[in-house]
């Protein structure tokens, strides 16, 4: 807090926020502006609304008020660094960087500063190996899990046999988009399907070549690792060439309402993965009455219940549970980032607990350990219903092929450990 105060003083020579020192500080590195604002806004709304609900309903967590420090990154790495430096000295307990670039940025920094990072279904996949990445958590699932869940879903659809089928991966030509390739290559060897890769260059407004190629080659299934404008265009182009929507599966960052609505009725039947269930949860009612009606809504309140709002709220719930766990372990209410890490490592999410919180079935049951920071890796497949304008879950939580994913994670994380002179081990 002192550093930030100094800076503010130095630069504005005025007022500093007089905040109580005993708060639980949660920075929210949101992106409500820029090319990806449509995805960042609902997530951040959900994230903040849940903490506000805890403050309003329970007086915080374990008797400590939660203080949210929002900082706008615009999905830009350099602004992310600025946000991190601006908030870390306020006693930040946990970072949710919300961008692959910022995550890679913060992994070494936060590790050195000993502040835990939670990258929920994004960021560095091999961070699931908690012995190498002591301060990074990516439960409940990661991209390699996602690829495997998709293939398992398709196996299920085809009575366990993908022999001779073709699966194309349409991906954003960036580190994020290339994540699932290794997994899918390994899976294609195991299950005998043919795997093709189709890259879309950033930003992805023009995908004619790619979809003509899909039209020529007629793959049985198209999986998509898309982001931003690429999603909307891909779904529209898929509809244009008449690709069967139920054979087109996006990952969980390509499966929100705003990805499908621009295509209108043509998007009906599109599938996407999700790590959290959407639907009418009892907790929404509480947020509505205790947060929104009290005038404390983080946004304009219109995003409640949407896919990314729910995910943001889910992320907040996981953080809040970890805080409670940390308070329980260390039996103090005003915890430090290091205690927070212990809480996250001992986190256990059960169906009973989710019921109690008014979010029944929002996520799978999982527990975290020192060796496994990645959760269970389960995901559901959901389908877009254009006439009702809602997502419906098609399946229950599907498990990935843990043996394969784990070996890939070990391989990548040991390479990282060797490059950075880290001796794997628990803290």
């Amino acid at each position: 807090m002192k550093m930030k105060t100094l800076t503010t003083l130095a630069l504005t020579s005025a007022l500093t926020a007089g905040m109580a020192a005993a708060d639980l500080v949660i920075p929210d590195l949101s992106y409500r502006t820029g090319p990806y604002a449509a995805g960042g806004t609902p997530f951040s709304d959900g994230y903040q609304d849940y903490f506000n609900l805890l403050n309003a309903r329970d007086g915080g967590i374990g008797g400590e008020e939660v203080r949210i420090v929002e900082c706008e990154t615009g999905y830009n790495t350099e602004k992310g660094v600025e946000c991190y430096e601006a908030t870390k000295n306020e006693g930040a307990l946990i970072y949710q960087p919300l961008s692959t670039g910022i995550t890679y940025q913060l992994i070494p920094k936060a590790t050195a500063d000993e502040i835990p990072i939670h990258t929920m279904g994004y960021g560095r996949t091999s961070a699931a190996n908690g012995e190498v990445f002591n301060w990074v958590f990516n439960y409940p699932a990661n991209y390699w899990d996602a690829a495997s869940v998709m293939v398992n879903y398709l196996l299920d659809e085809n009575d366990g046999d993908l022999e001779g089928k073709t699966i194309a991966l349409l991906f954003h030509n960036s580190a994020y988009g290339k994540e699932p390739i290794r997994t899918l290559e390994a899976l294609s060897e195991d299950h005998g399907f043919e795997f093709t890769q189709i890259a879309v260059d950033h930003p992805g407004q023009e995908q004619k070549s790619q979809w003509l190629q899909i039209r020529r080659e007629r793959p049985d299934y198209v999986l998509m690792w898309g982001w931003g404008v690429m999603n909307q265009v891909a779904i529209q182009e898929a509809a244009n060439i008449g690709f069967p929507m139920e054979n087109f599966i996006g990952n969980w960052w390509a499966g929100a309402e705003h990805d499908v609505t621009p295509a209108g009725p043509a998007a009906d039947g599109y599938l996407s993965l999700n790590m959290n269930r959407v639907g009418d949860l009892p907790v929404f009612g509480e947020i509505e009455s205790m947060v929104h009606e009290a005038g404390n809504a983080a946004g304009d309140g219109s995003n409640m219940g949407s896919v990314l709002y729910t995910r943001g709220m889910y992320a907040a719930m996981l953080a809040a549970e970890a805080i409670a766990k940390a308070q329980e372990i260390h039996s103090v209410s005003d915890i430090t980032p290091a205690m927070m890490r212990d809480g996250m490592e001992a986190l256990e999410i059960t169906d009973a607990r989710m019921n109690e919180l008014g979010m029944a079935q929002i996520g799978p049951e999982f527990s975290v350990s020192c060796e496994n920071h990645g959760g269970s890796g389960l995901g559901i497949v959901q389908q877009w219903n254009a006439s009702e304008g809602s997502w419906t879950a098609l399946t229950d939580y599907i498990a990935p092929e843990d043996a394969l994913i784990d070996s890939l994670i070990i391989e990548d994380s040991t390479a990282f450990a060797a490059e950075n002179n880290i001796t794997p081990g628990c803290l």
Partner: protein, 358 residues
Amino acid sequence: MLYREAGDYKTSYPADSQTFPIAFDRYRYWVVLAVAFLVIPFFVNDYIVNALLLPFLIYSIAAIGLNILTGYAGQVSLGTGGFMAVGAYACYKLMTAFPDVNILIHVVLAGGVTAAVGTAFGLPSLRIKGFYLAVATLAAQFFLVWLFNKVAWFYNYSASGQISAPERTVLGIAVTGPNTPAWASYLVCLVFVTICALIARNLTRGAMGRQWMAIRDMDIAAEIIGVNPLKAKLTAFAVSSFFVGVSGALFFAVYLGAVEVGEAFGINKSFLVLFMIIIGGLGSIFGAFAGAAFLVTLPVFLKLIGVDLLGWPTDLVAHLQLVVVGLLIMFFLVKEPHGLAHLWRLAKEKLRLWPFPH
């Protein structure tokens, strides 16, 4: 009163042709250097260094580089992002291939690699001129980014496609990696900035700089008076790319520590650096600093006022930031069309006469 050349007699040619002929300028220069090297390192914290000083210093190097090419030699370039990426990836490959060699040497070598690449992409400038030349550099921009993304050798076949800087030390103190003290990374960048500015200042004052400016002002006329356009243009590309490469290497190794090429070195970076030199003032080393300071610090400053002081929603502040930056650019232009550097010159002219303007 203080700032005038009257009474400042020069008795030798070297004294007459020194970088800052006015005594006050010279003192100011030494004071600025002394403060930067001896005072600031003791007062900085992580926030000031990482959010303000490092981006300012690193963008200054890039802006000096681009200013040599665009401001002094008159060749428009929109490939700055791509060339910074060359510097960053060259530095990464060198760092990981020769871990025992000093990182500072790697940064310089990365600049050298970039100079070679830049020269190759500068070849079309002999034939294509003006705005049209931008196409050659844009081709470089998009091609290089694509290449670094596509060829796994450049990122050592890591699964993520990102490159991250391992820890390297200078004199036993970490200068890259997460354990770097704030003052160390600041000082490393400051040393490079100082050396680069010094080189640039002297190059542009010497024979080479005059050739560049002759080419910029009218290349046919320059050719007639004996300037070799091939040599002048390609040296401009080489020197400019060297600086840009150094800044790219520092940007990756010291400032961010981990980058992904498409995000960190995209076309936006090229535009940003171009905006810096245009706003700062073309053909001026000071302009490069002023432009970098304007575009790096102004948004942070506006954010501090809007969010921390006034408590507005962060997204509103971010939008207003754009509006204010845009308005300021337009306002400065209407008032003073030749960039911040010209304002500075005007201020100095006024100061020479102060306090008796007549």
